[in-house]
Symmetry: C2
Subunit: 358 residues, 2 copies
């Protein structure tokens, strides 16, 4: 069913049918009625593809994230799609598995499909040539979660350094000095302070931690920053490693909800209790964190709202409106039960403590 068919049925020209259907131009009541009736009778539906082709607008936005399976992105995506739908846009979703090559490919495909704009959670904040191209070509682009290095692109993210500072202070106040930070971030070399990381987010978090230690006049335990925690098994072994020996960590920070699962599991396997033996803190406030015993202390990020804001910002760009005042999202430290006083305080009281399974 095409406009031509409808036109024929309504005994008018294609142009008139198109006008009646598209609700533009001048159409007599008589014609409009006949056309609409014919369209109804033939159950005509316009071909969006054809429409997009000469309007140049596809009413579709492309979203590129690391992994929808991760509830963090799931929720962000939900925010994006909700806001997009409200504004009459659809969403094409592409996964990258945090792989740069996949991201390049994803962006290319979306561009080929002529999406009106892109929301990307950049896999790398360093290697962003492909994103720079998009931005320079003038196609609306918004980043979510992480910045794209020095690209001047609107970015919806929380101030990670700040919340990381706050969280670290919380741990320091509880007496912890040996605080481990575990992340999946892939790096070529082991962590050294000041090294350039692929993820602005992780960089900021580490910076926040360092600032907290510095402010407290304490040395930053850089040996406990463990990156490259890829699969569940490696996370487990890293956790075991970090919690062993005389120099063991007394607190562990999990960089995301997926890591957290394996870390907590590893802690349980070691027969250590939270927070008795090890304090635990994680990024992302997933609902289940309230169900563990004890409930977990987390850093809550307004992920859904960030998704909504990203979509709105993008749509503003697409419609040529000036960018709104940049919303600053703040994460909050939700103190539940998984952070407790450090068991290994210098005081002799800590000596002779036995480790017991719950």
């Amino acid at each position: 069913m095409t406009v031509a068919d409808v036109a024929k049925a309504a005994q008018v020209s294609k142009a008139q049918a198109a006008r009646a259907l598209g609700n533009y131009g001048a159409v007599s009541d008589d014609v409009r009625e006949r056309v609409l009736a014919a369209a109804e009778a033939l159950s005509y539906r316009p071909n969006e593809l054809a429409r997009s082709m000469n309007t140049g607008k596809s009413h579709t936005i492309g979203v590129v994230v690391g992994d929808i399976e991760n509830p963090h992105f799931g929720l962000a995506t939900r925010g994006i799609t909700d806001a997009a739908k409200k504004a009459g846009y659809n969403v094409i979703l592409v996964n990258t598995d945090e792989d740069r090559a996949a991201e390049v490919e994803a962006v290319r495909i979306l561009l080929d499909k002529r999406v009106d704009g892109l929301i990307v959670a950049p896999a790398s904040s360093v290697d962003t040539a492909h994103l720079q191209q998009v931005h320079q070509s003038g196609r609306p682009l918004v980043f979510i979660d992480r910045t794209g290095g020095d690209l001047d692109v609107e970015t919806l993210a929380v101030d990670m350094a700040k919340i990381s500072l706050e969280a670290t202070q919380h741990l320091l106040e509880a007496g912890h000095r040996r605080i481990a930070f575990i992340s999946t971030l892939r790096t070529d070399a082991p962590y050294k302070p000041g090294m350039t990381l692929d993820s602005s987010q992780i960089e900021d978090r580490l910076e926040g931690m360092q600032r907290a230690f510095l402010a407290a006049g304490l040395p930053f335990p850089e040996d406990l920053v463990r990156l490259n925690a890829g699969d569940a098994e490696s996370i487990r072994s890293i956790t075991r490693d970090v919690l062993r020996g005389p120099e063991r960590a007394t607190a562990v920070v999990a960089s995301d909800g997926l890591i957290a699962l394996s870390v907590v599991e590893a802690i349980q396997e070691l027969g250590l209790s939270i927070p008795g033996d090890v304090s635990f803190l994680m990024y992302d406030d997933f609902p289940w964190t309230r169900l563990t015993t004890p409930p977990l202390t987390v850093i809550a990020q307004p992920v859904y709202n960030m998704g909504v804001a990203a979509a709105k910002a993008l749509i503003r760009q697409m419609e040529g409106l000036p960018p709104a005042a940049p919303a600053q999202f703040t994460a909050t430290l939700v103190r539940r039960g998984s952070v407790g006083p450090c068991p290994d305080l210098q005081e002799p009281v800590a000596a002779g403590r036995t480790v017991a399974a719950p």
Copy 2:
């Protein structure tokens, strides 16, 4: 940048440029080289919209699910997108919030966008006129998770009645007789055995439960089937309600992972212990279910694989291949720690038991 531009730059006709670019027809080496060089120089990328328009194929599949935020669908979606990508297809995702009107709209939009096929988790297994239309129009369609009533559409789902029977038997063997089943499914009237439900899935689960009771020669506690558990608050109040009074439930089955969160929370708030006072069982094996104390007994569904299978089945349809042998997915009962012996056994030993918070 269009083929015309490339053609001009390469000093050949549009047709020749298109042939060289599209890799079809006969093109001399000389022309091919010049065209490809020109395309490279102009960084030409074909307009997928235009291409789709006259091939009739958009290489895009539409996915309609209740809620991506739900990890169940998140994982399924991941399976779908992975399989789709591998076959060269993209995915447009639409959320319905399990609302039929939204689903109708979603299907309409995807059809307008000329997706090559649709994967739908029908919000209703009863009211499926819009899906029937899709199917009859010949557009490839696959259901996931739930059937579409009597529609003869390929459906990827687990045999719910079977696993529900098995799970119920497990509870019956532990001595439970008062088993509650809580689901978000919206209904107009309270549950009555045999009533038609909007969801084939829930219907099957309840049927499995009833069969288990029947086989054991026990009466099915239909008063404990609680539907319409919409938001977190209503789930909490239903849980409280069900666990109160002399006729209280001694075991609770949560129909999905989202409900489970609120149910467990409510149980904890009541100061009841799992599995001491209440046994608990839920659908979907989310990673966090291993982290609670005790870890939760769950019904694991091969969600990712179902997503993959759905995409593959759809792609077979789209490519005109005969449907593969229908894969039967089986869920498995993962017995962890949340199901224990019934505390209220008829024996007097149960009398005088005190309820203690953990």
